[in-house]
Symmetry: C2
Subunit: 103 residues, 2 copies
């Protein structure tokens, strides 16, 4: 079954001190875990898929999370932002969290 | 700028002999490289994004590639299948390659 929302969380890691940084350096491990924790807490396994990825490009805006099929790009997503994404975006008739959008 | 097609290629690796196998064990490294080679050959950097991912679920159908926003799931995608995906799916007015679809 296809999910209603498929969230891709960048987990890319670069060596410490790399000029481009990386989403892991910005804390994406915690963000990824927060998505999974929230998914489990709400039992939304059929509606929401969460997938970790390698680099998606906007490394200076990390941690980056992209939601399809709507094509919403979120940046600087901290673990404490994740419940708001579920509350506002992933509910029936929900809308993206504009303050976190980068595209 | 948002891409017209965003291809997510599973690159997940599991230890050799793991009962679920993995897309890397099915050859996804070559599939991922084929997507990037084709992208470069056709200069479609603005239309198509290619991102490697961790596990997306259907490990027994690997290598798995998912294309958004259309939500097309391809399975058993070999490097030699990739140019057909560009030719038929990623052209203007293109349609998914049905023989490779798993969802």
């Amino acid at each position: 079954m296809k999910p209603k929302h498929h969230v891709f969380v960048c987990m890319n890691r670069r060596p410490e001190g790399h000029p481009r940084g990386s989403c892991q350096a910005s804390g994406s491990q915690g963000t990824f875990e927060a998505f999974n924790t929230e998914l489990e807490k709400r039992g939304m396994y059929e509606q929401v898929f969460v997938t970790g990825t390698f680099c998606m490009g906007p490394c200076d805006r990390g941690p980056v999370a992209v939601v399809y099929p709507e094509g919403v790009w979120y940046g600087n997503v901290k673990p404490e932002d994740v419940s708001e994404i579920f509350d506002k975006h992933f509910v029936d008739g929900g809308e993206p969290v504009e303050r976190l959008r980068i595209m």
